[in-house]
Subunit: 576 residues, 2 copies
């Protein structure tokens, strides 16, 4: 601090300060440096030529001008943060600014996660037939940590009542909550209910929630008191949802805060769903915004399908009493995602092709999400007509003309101007077990006795192709065993063949290769993207065309068997 | 697994399985236990009476019934998660389910946070006059961790060019980014720009953003390469916003993900704001929903006021070129909070009283937030008329009748049915420095030469009271030094007295006590809540009445000096 003094009296008159410096006791105003003019009245040269020892003030100074008053921020007794608040970075600053060196926090609840099951193997250990990789404890522990608890993952406990009793008792002594995973159903080795009864009190066995039905709630002894125990069902989706429905609110209550309250949107169901009337049905959905509408595409329902939770953008609860909802019904979706993310979601409904996964991967790098629902080519065109998709993948052959898609677009989308862009040319053929044990050569073999088939659903381009070729060959569907057994994707067809449910199915080479199956090529076809003009030039879709033109994307697709990318990105047709 | 065999051939026919067990190789269907009838054909007794060795099947079984096909979840080559995805608990499950034991993750960027300034003291160390508690590094480090980086907080470096150079060079060797806090302005000890120039390249000095103006961006040497350095301004709000504006997007890019995209709402400004036309102005606002409208109440503007960030529900950016916006203008608010939280926010606009802080504290326990904007009693009634608040605190004396509020309600809220509920009776008086050095006794002393006053803003109930009493005493406002110096809260008035900007102010006893000032009681007054009927019976406000009836709340208020809680919660009047 360079002091300026009155040479006659020695009184301090002014001092140089930097922005943010506290005001000296003797001062009562600050003059901005641009209003100060250095003058040379002092014999003694200043140590700093930019900071002379005498100044002239260019304009009048009002007391307390350019002084930030104390109390501008916060003063004693004023509330800094209410109770039950989760501290954010700026809150730490405010606490420190008030002179506090610490605050009282809620204790993080200690949660024991105990996986049980003789069939379980740890992640990374060799998996033999009949083994199941144990990952529910990983998911539950990560959920607990995310919601503010401290999780302890126990080692896998075999289906042995004594062993489970011992581990649960031990966990209860050092934790605030025990999650006992699997064994909550009524199977022969489902010991959870007995364990809870033996160690305390069984309060609830089974809740009217799907997935998640066989939940157990109880209180067990811990030291002189009792702690809650939750019997978590074994199916992965049930386990994760049990965490959301039962564990999260409990942790929030212990932490003195509100459970996370997800955003919600009203969305239109893209297809019919059925529901068990006795239960609240937690329907996982992909959500996108098309035009002004939010759309919810139901995902796989199985409680074992953990990827349905991974892909879910949210949950629509169909309340008990409901037998289901028709396509077009409005549902309230509790979002897993920030609503802003939905604004950059490309919503594709239509035919399934394996390049869509790669496309999703590449689009993610361009700040776009691809949400795709597989309803077959015709279903995609119907979705476009209803304004429920940004684009539809389609490979519908017109047997009359040999053309792809155009006939169908004119039929399904009258008055909707669209552009048709090539994605890939691909081979369709028979997917058969490795070595082709039934020695199948063509579709004619499907009618052979002892050959079972797995079909695609009505409306799928592959189904249209099959029906067309069968007609050409004069084969009636009734003569094919398994014709009515329908799957929704090429991979599901391949999986049916791999699991011996069928001897063959019609599909693409890449699906056969993915499951180490053999492939008998039969037809070439064009898989195209149908895009309404209204989205063709949108910001949302711009990155799609960048990806289609990207050599590294083309190369990635070309490595899949049976794909030809030479026409990728070409504008095939404009239909008005 | 209990096997059932054909006694003649020894062939396996069936086995008992639990839900979720894998299907044995030889089996091709599952029969639910309720369709199985035990029969006693076997001489050998079963080890488990519930699991006999012979069964009858009650209904026909189709191959593959009750079998979950493989591939229902995910099969080889299918995309599990796209690149650039932040892993959630269920994602860990899906990765493990696919047999992966690990995935490649983006490396967490290492960020060095260096606080500089001779005036700084560490949190918890003794603070002398002129010292500033250093907490910016705490906030910046917490931000970095929240955004996925790893932060290193360095010890405070004094304003010494050599010392700063040495520490920055050292930090650069082991980090991916250096945040050099303060010293980015043009003051005498603001070395940041010189440090960056000396160690590398200064790219930007000053950005058109308020608060946050004097940001420095540069690249400095690190090993064989260069790393970025950001000179972060010293004012707490500027520092935190610099984090949001510059650090977060950089970390997101390094982590291969999108920066957090906050939700936004369109909200109506509750009062006029001015803006520097040359800069993007980051206005902190409290947000609430009243009826169908979202409202944004501007908070303190000062860049030193970190509590304005703590209280902010969001940020409205007034773009450069704008000179400000009038009350009633619509602004786009980037939310810091989940929109669901806004649904449980009670938006109170009106007079300031210190019990509102306590009320906020108690309401937080009932799942309600209280957002209060201090615009004075009259301003509160105007806000109610505009439908911009759920309630207004008011203490407006009608000199004619001696009544509080009713006259003003009839004048300001014609046709708006409201209920008036007592909050507290309280003392108003002169807030003076400890010991009352100017020996002030009444408002008559305000006109004495050498006595300076700090006033409340027009429309405040306290101002109405002052003006009324001055009229009674025959004192003209012009005769009072400081009459035009206005503050918005009782605490701000007290802070002005405490910092010697004024000798006295009119306010409440609790504000004087909070800052260790003396208080000369002069008047009693009634502070009431004015609540439109439309909200009086709402779910939103129900917890408010619970709190007003809560003895522990009344007791907490009663401990504040000058408060009488005997009428608290009483319905004082209904005005239609």
């Amino acid at each position: 601090m360079t002091l300026l003094c009155d040479p006659s009296t020695g009184l301090r008159l002014a001092a140089y300060l930097d922005t943010g410096d506290p005001l000296p006791e003797w001062a009562d105003a600050v003059i901005p440096i641009e209003n100060v003019e250095p003058i040379d009245v002092d014999q003694q040269p200043s140590a700093n030529p930019r900071r002379p020892h005498a100044i002239r003030i260019r304009s009048a100074v009002v007391p307390w001008s350019h002084v930030r008053p104390i109390g501008e921020d916060i003063v004693a007794t004023q509330l800094v943060l209410p109770a039950g608040h989760t501290l954010r970075p700026v809150d730490l600053g405010a606490i420190a600014a008030c002179g506090h060196t610490g605050v009282r926090l809620a204790k993080r609840p200690r949660v024991a996660v105990l996986p049980t099951g003789t069939e379980l193997v740890e992640i990374g250990k060799p998996v033999r037939a009949g083994d199941i990789i144990e990952f529910n404890s990983l998911v539950l522990a990560a959920q607990v940590e995310q919601w503010g608890g401290e999780a302890t993952r126990f080692a896998i406990i075999p289906d042995d009542l004594e062993a489970i009793l011992e581990q649960v008792s031990q966990a209860a002594e050092s934790h605030d909550l025990v999650l006992l995973n699997a064994g909550s159903s009524a199977g022969s080795e489902d010991y959870s209910a007995r364990v809870v009864e033996e160690l305390g009190e069984l309060l609830v066995h089974g809740v009217a929630v799907r997935p998640g039905h066989p939940v157990i709630l109880g209180m067990i002894r811990s030291g002189d008191g009792k702690i809650p125990i939750i019997g978590v069902p074994g199916y992965p989706v049930s386990a994760a949802l049990t965490g959301e429905i039962f564990v999260q609110p409990l942790l929030a209550r212990w932490l003195g805060r509100q459970p996370d309250q997800p955003g919600t949107v009203s969305a239109i169901l893209t297809r019919k769903v059925t529901s068990t009337p006795g239960d609240d049905d937690y329907l996982r959905v992909a959500v996108g915004r098309v035009g002004q509408k939010f759309l919810a595409a139901p995902l796989a329902r199985g409680s074992g399908v953990i990827t349905s939770l991974v892909r879910a953008d949210g949950i629509a609860v169909l309340p008990r009493g409901s037998q289901g909802l028709p396509a077009g019904a409005t549902v309230e979706v509790r979002l897993y995602r920030n609503p802003a993310e939905l604004e950059r979601t490309i919503f594709a409904i239509g035919s399934h092709d394996m390049t869509l996964d790669l496309l999703s991967q590449f689009l993610a790098k361009c700040d776009r999400r691809l949400a795709s629902a597989n309803v077959g080519s015709q279903g995609g065109l119907v979705a476009l007509r209803r304004g429920e998709a940004h684009l539809a993948g389609s490979h519908l052959l017109d047997p009359e003309t040999g053309e792809y898609n155009l006939t169908y677009i004119r039929e399904y989308l009258p008055g909707v101007p669209v552009k048709v862009v090539a994605l890939v040319d691909r081979e369709q053929g028979l997917i058969v077990p490795s070595g082709n044990p039934k020695m199948l050569q063509s579709l004619a073999d499907l009618a052979r006795p002892g050959v079972s088939f797995v079909n695609r659903q009505r409306g799928a381009g592959t189904r249209v192709l099959l029906d067309y070729q069968l007609r050409l060959l004069g084969i009636s569907p009734e003569s094919i065993q398994g014709y009515s057994q329908e799957e929704y994707t090429h991979l599901a067809v391949a999986a049916a063949v791999a699991s011996r449910r069928a001897d063959c199915g019609l599909g693409i080479a890449a699906a056969a290769q993915a499951l180490d199956l053999d492939f008998i090529p039969l037809y070439h076809e064009r898989y195209e993207l149908v895009i309404p003009d209204v989205y063709f030039h949108s910001d949302l879709l711009a990155p799609l065309f960048q990806v289609l033109a990207d050599p590294s994307f083309r190369q990635a697709v070309a490595t899949l068997p049976g794909y030809d990318v030479s026409r990728m990105g070409n504008l095939v047709a404009e239909v008005r």
